[in-house]
Structures are given as structure tokens and as C-alpha cells.
């Protein structure tokens, strides 16, 4: 699974989801050439493309799709993938029925649900995209450079080198002739205006950054909070704290009052017990998360009233609260056990659809389901939504936006027999 934005960008070209979703939320063909609503609630039938092939030439069947959902993905997307697999029924080799129930069709456009197949002797699972993963060099420490090379399967298409760099390198990339730069650096947009022939475009919000923290043990943790009361907080976070392109999250709290969902059942035993720390933690290398964590710590120390509404348990810590970066694995482990006071978590925005996200969060943080009903034992408060800027040199490379806010390169020469996304 991709671990960096560069890898995510590259994997989007190598592994196709069943459908794609545009930046306007409209579905388009992916691995499936067509889809139609069946009789029941959220019951859809998908017909696979006739020319759908893995890199080794094997035809892609409906069973391959289900098996891919059963085996690939990383939490929280893996939860959605397993859910899809359980809801899918193979009609024939090219026909697949999926009962999405209350989930939106766009759920299937999640790039993390791209179809892959493990093959002996291959370093990477076989994909169905027009590009094959050639090489990935993963940095050991931030901010080293990560490089992903994509080899075209269509003659005449260019090889794509995807570099993940630190923000300070952005100007060098513009001056160095990069075809496309996807960045969160606002200053790069300003810089490009000084360079003739370089254009930029805001991408749609890709991530929602949420504050996950323990709910107060005695207060009315289930009480809803009027979003208007806490809007200034979220707006301030988006305007003054996040250095990239960001906007305030639209709601103040998703949980703990998501009562319309089924009872939450954790995949493992909830571990919520004594609260061992006063830390707000985030994944190391996530600048947005770091800024948000530091800001909520500062607000907790100054007794901010809006923070007390959003996350009373954190606010109660006052000046004892601190911010700390954790290595990704440690962060995942801490989130799983509820060992820290609060977490800044990034969630793909498009696929936050309510109960599914509740389940997805419970999958990575079982302690949230320690409550007896369909409520969290913690608070999940969306803070800001971030989006990137695409800086490009027009005419050299075409690109398209997908529903999750990422960019897909569109070579000028279409792939024969394949639809361009």
C-alpha cells in the first residue's frame, strides 16, 4: 500500500478502482465499463471492461475484483475493502453485483480500492492500469526524497517519474522543469506567478483532518455541539495554522452522537483504560497534523472555550497537554490502544460517509467503541480540510482531477482500447 503521497499518486496509475469519481463527484468508468442499479437498497451491477487485463495479460474477472478487496488495502481503507468483498456477488466472469446498502456509489471510486493481484516472482502486485510500477525508493527519514518510476504499457507514452520532496524543494522543481507539481505550499503558488508559462490550479479538498480524543467520563459526551459555536475555531485553524491550502471543516463533531448507525463492534477487544498521557500525537512528517496538534495544545493551555466545546477532555488538560510526533507504526499502535490523550488523524474526504467511517475508525481505534451503543467512547472532531495546488506547465502534460482530489496524468496519446480517465 502507498505510504507517501507520491506513492499514492503513482499507485493511482497502476491500480484501477472499479469506477472513478470526478472532482464533481460524478462516477465514470474505471475497471467497470458500465453499472446499473438493481432492485434492492444500494444494489448495483457492474460489467467489467472487455479489455480489462492485468499487466501479465491475464483477463480481469469479477472474482479477481472480489479477491483483491479481500486481500489488499490498509486500515481504514482495508475495512471498506473487506466490507465490499462481503457485499459483492460474482454473477459471471465479467459481471459483479454489489449491495452498497446505505453507502454511496462513489465509495467504489476510492483509489485505495484499486484492483490488484498477487503474482509469484513479481515485486509488486499485478495491476490493471496503463502504467506498471517500475521502482520505488522509500525514504527512511523525512524529508528524504522518495521516487516512484512508472513504466508505460502503451507504446509512445512517456515514463513518469514521481518524486516526493520536501516543501522547500518546490521552487527548484518549478525552475527545474517539472511537468506537474502537486503541493500544499501556498507560497509556491505565489512563486509560480513570477514564472511565465507556469500555471496553477487548486485541487479539491483531499483530506479532512480530525481530532480524535477521549470523551469525558462523566459529562454529556453524547450531546451535539452547534457547528456555529465552534466555526471560528475551525476557520482560524484553516486560516492561521495550516500553512497549505485549507478550509474549515463543515461540522464541529461527527461523533459521539452518530446514533443512526448500527452498534459499533470493534474488531478487537477495546483497550480503553486509564489515560496514560497528556499528549496530542500525530504522524511524523505530517506538517498539517503537527500544526493542528500544536495549536490545540496551545488552545488547551489558554483555556479556549471553543476547544472545550469540541474536545472537553483535551481542554481539561490545560497546560499539561503537549504535542508529540510519532513514527507511523507507533502512531498506528497508539491509535489502536487509545494510549494517548488525543490524535490528529487524516481521513480521505470523499469517503467520509457516516457509519462506514465510524466502522473504519473503530477498526484502527477499537477503544472508540467502548461505549454500549452506536456511539463512540471518544470525540471525533473534524478540524480542517486541506487541498493541494497543482502547478504545471500547460501544454506539456494533460492531467485530470479525481474525486479524492488527486491528480491523474493524462498522456496526450490515449491508450488504445482503454478509456481515458
Amino acid at each position: 500500500m502507498p505510504t507517501t503521497s507520491a506513492e499514492q499518486f503513482a499507485f493511482g496509475h497502476a491500480y484501477e478502482p472499479l469506477i472513478r469519481v470526478s472532482c464533481k463527484g460524478e462516477p465514470s468508468a474505471g475497471l467497470a465499463k458500465s453499472w446499473s442499479r438493481m432492485g434492492g437498497l444500494g444494489h448495483w451491477r457492474f460489467i467489467l471492461r472487455d479489455d480489462a487485463r492485468f499487466w501479465n495479460g491475464d483477463r480481469v474477472t469479477a472474482r479477481d475484483v472480489v479477491e483483491s478487496w479481500q486481500t489488499t488495502g490498509r486500515a481504514p481503507d482495508a475495512v471498506t475493502a473487506r466490507r465490499m468483498a462481503s457485499l459483492a456477488t460474482v454473477v459471471d466472469d465479467s459481471t459483479l453485483d454489489v449491495r452498497l446498502e446505505h453507502m454511496a456509489l462513489a465509495t467504489l471510486g476510492n483509489p485505495q480500492l484499486g484492483i490488484a493481484k498477487r503474482a509469484p516472482g513479481n515485486r509488486w502486485p499485478l495491476g490493471t492500469g496503463s502504467y506498471r510500477l517500475q521502482d520505488v525508493s522509500t525514504p527512511q527519514t523525512v524529508p528524504q526524497r522518495s521516487t516512484v518510476t512508472l513504466e508505460p504499457l502503451v507504446a509512445g507514452w512517456p515514463t513518469i517519474a514521481v518524486n516526493s520532496t520536501t516543501p522547500s524543494d518546490g521552487r527548484d522543481l518549478v525552475d527545474g522543469g517539472a511537468d506537474l507539481i502537486v503541493t500544499d505550499d501556498r507560497s509556491l503558488s505565489a512563486y509560480r506567478t513570477t514564472r511565465p508559462g507556469v500555471a496553477s490550479s487548486l485541487l479539491d479538498a483531499a483530506h479532512t483532518w480530525v481530532l480524535v480524543t477521549h470523551a469525558p467520563l462523566t459529562s454529556d459526551s453524547g450531546a451535539a455541539v452547534d457547528p456555529k459555536q465552534t466555526a471560528p475555531l475551525r476557520e482560524s485553524l484553516a486560516r492561521d495554522v495550516v500553512r497549505g491550502q485549507a478550509r474549515a471543516a463543515s461540522s464541529s463533531r461527527w461523533y459521539p452522537a452518530e446514533r443512526r448507525c448500527d452498534p459499533l463492534v470493534p474488531a478487537s477487544q477495546p483497550l480503553r483504560g486509564s489515560r496514560p498521557s497528556a499528549r496530542v500525537v500525530y504522524r511524523r512528517g505530517e506538517a498539517v497534523a503537527q500544526a493542528l496538534a500544536e495549536r490545540v495544545v496551545a488552545l488547551a493551555g489558554s483555556g479556549d472555550a471553543q476547544l472545550a466545546l469540541v474536545a472537553p477532555e483535551l481542554a481539561r488538560m490545560g497546560t499539561r497537554a503537549t504535542a508529540a510526533a510519532l513514527p507511523p507504526n507507533d502512531f498506528d499502535a497508539a491509535l489502536r490502544t487509545g494510549a494517548e490523550l488525543a490524535y490528529i488523524v487524516s481521513v480521505p474526504r470523499l469517503f467520509i460517509l457516516g457509519c462506514d467511517e465510524a466502522e473504519a475508525l473503530v477498526a484502527v481505534a477499537p477503544w472508540l467503541a467502548a461505549g454500549s451503543s452506536a456511539t463512540f467512547a471518544g470525540v471525533v472532531a473534524p478540524l480542517v480540510e486541506t487541498r493541494s495546488v497543482a502547478v504545471m506547465i500547460p501544454g506539456r502534460t494533460g492531467f485530470a482531477l479525481t474525486g479524492d482530489g488527486t491528480v491523474t496524468v493524462v498522456p496526450s496519446q490515449p491508450a488504445p482500447g482503454k478509456r481515458s480517465p
Partner: protein, 529 residues
Amino acid sequence: VTFRSRLLIGFLLATVVPLGVLAIGVRRQLDTRLGAQHQRRVEGLARIVEQDIARESASIGARLASLARSLRTDDRFRTTTLGDEGDRAYVLDWAEQAMRTTGLSMLQVQDAEGRILSSGHFRNEFDRLDADVVRALVAAKGAALVQVRAPAGPFLALARIDSVSFADRRFHIVGGTTVDSAFLRRFAREDGMTVSLPAFDGTVAPARFDITYTSPELAALRSDVNRWFILALGVVIALAVALALWLSARISGPLATLTHAASTIELEGPELQIAAQRNDEIGTLARRMGGLSTRLRASAARLRQAERRATVGDIARQVNHDIKNGLIPIRNVLRHLVQVQEQQPQDLATVFAERRSTLESSVGYLDTLARNYARLTPSVEHRAVDVNGIVSAVADSASAPGGINVRTRLTESLPRALGDPIVVRRVLDNLVRNAIESIDGRAGDVTLTTSRAPNGAIRVVVADTGRGMSEAELAHAFDDFYTTKPEGTGLGLSVVRRLIADLNGSVRVESEPAHGTTFTIELPACTPS
């Protein structure tokens, strides 16, 4: 407390106390002189640290002044803080950027109310009110220690404050450097020197530091002195103990021997040999005790001789008296017979018959008297005597009434004694008979025990469970003619004592009324020549 213990304590006191006093005195002198030197050294180092911190404070002040000048001409900062929200991000990021360029580790810009406009070390703490720090730093008029909030937790900084004004508004710039272990180590310029912080309570405190300086040389010197004194003390104590033990052994050993020898001196027993080869006071004492023993024994012998002579005189007078007593009836009868022969010759036979019994009685008395006296002058031999055999024979032949047990406890392989078996038999017969008689017909025991005395003599003990003797009786037990028995002659124990003395032995008696009597006889052992 034994003499040995006294000697040991005395030696220890005589050696340990002076050495301890010496050690304390040397340590005190060492501490006083070196401590003063050390104090001067610490004060010198403290002045250096003070200067270092002053330089650091001045450096911080200079950097803050530079930032103040820069801020005064910064139009973007000016317009934003005066109301233009458009470039708020610039203001928020200003302190972080300035902190990087100046090398400070904390930097804040606050407005006059103490609201943080920009923070370099904690970029997102903007809008927090922190007026106390400003007030405290203004009051400090220089550098102070400040507890600084940071995302990862608070840290301590040496901070100063500067100010800048524009458009009638005043802004404070608070900046400083982190005070951590590395910071403190920078000022500790010598080994053994530690710069630390006093207890910090609150947000702002004067820039005071604790300096600890432990001179390694001084510590090593103290340690060496302690070690050598402990070593010397150990050696002295060991020597004192050894010397005390040796001396006490040299003195108390012979004294103990003398004491034992003195306790075993017997005027009538074998002569004791006291080793007196030493040439010191102990040897002299031993020799004098030996001489005293010899003189005592000689005196005792002379006393016994005189006693014998006195006894012979007594016996002569007694014999004279006894014979007279025996002769008087005979003389009276003879006078009566002479008178009858002269006056009534026809009745002589009748009167003789009448007075014959008186004559016979008197003759019998004299005969008995003669035998008794004959026993006072036995002749003794000196040859090997089987004491165990004689004791067994005496016990077997003892005529004890029913209820009285005559028992023997014989030591096996007992050497033979030097003496006369007949005399020994007589002595033991006499003692056993006395013992049986002392029981007065009641049930009781008479025990004959043989053993080897510590001085090598052959010891025979005759013990009974009879009535015993009072102290007065005991004092005259061996006197001639002293008896407590109605028909006794009073010569039995007297003869026993003389016979034993003739055998060069000794006899002593111990008795207590109602607890029986014990006679202990010791005869010289027969040593092969």
C-alpha cells in the same frame, strides 16, 4: 574481668586513642587549610561563570535589539499588526524566521496587553495572553530564567526583553536561549565543576545558578588520608591485640600455674614441684612459693614430731595411770589376802576364791591395755601394694548389719601403691568399721573408691552416709583417745593417721552432720626403679 582482658583493653586504649586523636587532628587541619584554598577556587570559578552568563545575556540583548530595529522598519509586520489581516501569516511566521536567523531558541512578539502575536518556538500559540512574563522581565532589568511553553512541553530559557513602538503602539520582543544540560555544561569549565539550577517555581526567576565544585585532587587526598589512617589503625589494633595476648600469656600463664600449685600444696602430701626457671618476677615468686612450701612442710614435720613426742608423753602418763588403775585392785586384793593370811589363815582359800575374780579382771584389763598399746607402735614395710585387692578384701570381710551396703568403685589398671599391705588393711578396716558404726544400724551405704590423684598418688576414698561429724568433732577426729563412742578407745583414727604418715601418705576427712563422712587417703605410687 580477667587479667588478660584488662591487659587487652589497656593496650587498645593506649594505642588506638592516640592514633585516633592524631587522625582527627590531621583531618581537621587538612580540611581547614585545603577547604579555604578550595573555597577561593570556587569563588574564582563562580566569577568566571558570572561573566559568562553576563556575556550570554548581553548577546541575547544585542540580538533582540537587532530584531527590534528590523521590526521597526518592517512594513508588512507594521501594516498587519495595525489592522490589516491580509498578511497575518507573515506575522505568525515572523518570529520563527527571526529565531532561525538570530540563533535564539525562544522568541515571542507580544503587544502591549501581553497577547502573543508571533512565536518562534511555538508558532501556533498566537493570541495567548502572557503578560506576566513581560512584566517580570521588565522588572528584572536584564536576563532572567523563564519557563517557556512549547508544543512538546515547557522548557527553561535565559531570556531578555526588548521593545519597539510604532503608531503609538508598543510591542515587546521576548527572546532567549534554552537553559538545558548542554547550556549548563558550557559553563562548567573544569573537571569536578557542576553548574545547576536552583529549584524553579513559577514562570520567571532571577538568573541564578548553583555552582558545585569538587576538586578531584582534594577528594583523592582525603580518601588517601582516610585509607592510610584506617590501615594504620588496623595494624595498630592487630599488634596491640597480639602483644596483649602474648604478654598476658607470659604473665598470666605462670600465675595460673602458681595458683594451681598453691591450691594443691599439702603439708603431709608429696612435695610439689613448681617450675621456676624464669628469671623475672614470676620466676622469683614461683621460687619463693616453692621455698615457702618446703619450709611449711619442714615446719609441719617438726610439728608432727613434736606432736608425737607430746603424744608419747601423754601416753606414758596415760599408761602409768592405766597400769596404776590396773594394779590398784591387784594391790588391794593382795593386801587383803596378806591380811587374811596373817589374821585368819583358815579363811585364806575362801577369801582368795572370793577375790580371784577381781584379780582376774584386773589382769585382763592390763592384758587388754597391753594389746592396745602394742597397736600404737606397729612396724611398717614399704613395698608394692595392690590397693584395689585390699579394698575388695576389706569390703568383702566387712560385717555390716542388714540395710547397710558396702560397695566398691575401683579404677582399673590402678598402679600399685608403695606401702605395707597389712597396715593398709588395718587402716581400711578401721575406717570401714567406723563408717558402718556411724550409720547407727539404719540403712545406708559405705563406698570405697580407688583412683589416681592428680599428683600421681593412689587415692582411696571411704565415704559413708552416716550421721557425720560436727565441726568440733571434725577438729579432734585424729586426736589420740578422742572418741564419741561409749566403748571407743579414741585411738582408731589417731592410729590411722600415724600409719598413713608412716607410709608417707596423707589422709583428710570431710564431714557434715547428717550428711555422712568422707575419708580420703592418698598413698605414694610405687614407681618402678
